[in-house]
Amino acid sequence: MDEPPVIIPGLGEAVTRENLLRELAFAGLPELVCGVELSPLTAAHVLRLSLAQSPFFAPPPGRDQLLRWLALGFITETHVGQFLWACSPRYRSDSPWRRRRFLRSIRRLSVGPACEEIFSFVEESFADKPGGPPEHGPAYWSWLASYVFAIARSTGWAEADILDLPLKRGWQYLKLVRLENDPKAIFFNHYSDRAKADWLRTVNAGRQS
């Protein structure tokens, strides 16, 4: 007979969340962050914000690190405004007055809660990013080159289209590209793997003590 199934706290919710996020990525809906309407995060957004040295991407911080930066005053309302404007559907690189008007509309946002929401938005957008072996050597190309090349090679899509593809869709396609090339490829589930790993840590710590 089978042993009774193990109960892992938070696993069911994590799997449900993953499934929902993956399907919503194809619904074409705008995203709301701090009540502000944003476009789904794309590789082009990440590039724009990385070049502007946004603290949300340089390097991608963990939540604890982000909160530490916030407490130290390294993240200001300027960074929040920069992020929201860069991802806004109203964004135009050549229109300073649009930018000013947008920034005026969000001037009452609190930095702390806004950072939390932006972090969740970024984390969700990167949740399906495929894992990989640890990189020990120097980098010879940008992650953007790998991302565009892998999807373009399998689909024939244009570079500009891939850069403007919501990351939540792009990562899913990239996983399938990987599966196509390696049927034994290892995949990760951001939220449910974390729930399982937390449970494993608890179980193994209990065994040691």
Binding site: D2, I7, L11, G131, P133, K184, K196, A197, Q208
Partner: protein, 130 residues
């Protein structure tokens, strides 16, 4: 042997289909979660021929079950990872021809991959013959 089902979402957080492996390592017993548990039952086919070289009879001998799986584990050091090779383990899920007390051992470990805090590694396993 039955293949694993996928994890079934449940508000209660039931872990269905993923195996727990209890692996005995140098630092004691540790639990791991194995995904994509994929067993196979190799067999050696023996054919006997008559004097004219025509097949007279054939029979098969079942070899010990082998298979592959993907191990999920929290962060470990490189030493702890290589320590898994040739370790014995038992799993919690029943298999048709393997009682719960069946022992397996890890015959090959792959290159670990990571995503955030979590790591996974593919392994090859083989049923242990006592």
């Amino acid at each position: 042997m039955a293949l694993d089902k996928q994890d079934v979402p449940a508000a209660s957080g039931l872990l269905v289909g993923s195996r727990q492996l209890l692996i005995t390592t140098g630092s004691g017993n540790k639990t791991y979660i194995a995904e994509n548990w994929s067993p196979s039952q190799p067999a050696t086919i023996i054919t006997s021929m008559d004097e004219l070289g025509k097949e007279r009879a054939a029979g098969g001998i079942k070899q010990p079950a082998t298979g592959t799986a993907t191990l999920l584990f929290p962060l470990l050091t490189a030493d702890q990872l290589t320590d898994l090779l040739f370790r014995e383990f038992q799993t919690n899920l029943h298999q048709e021809d393997a009682p719960l007390s069946t022992t397996f051992w890890i015959t090959e470990v792959g290159i670990p991959e990571s995503s955030g805090q979590e790591k996974k590694m593919s392994i090859n396993w083989r049923k242990k013959i006592n």
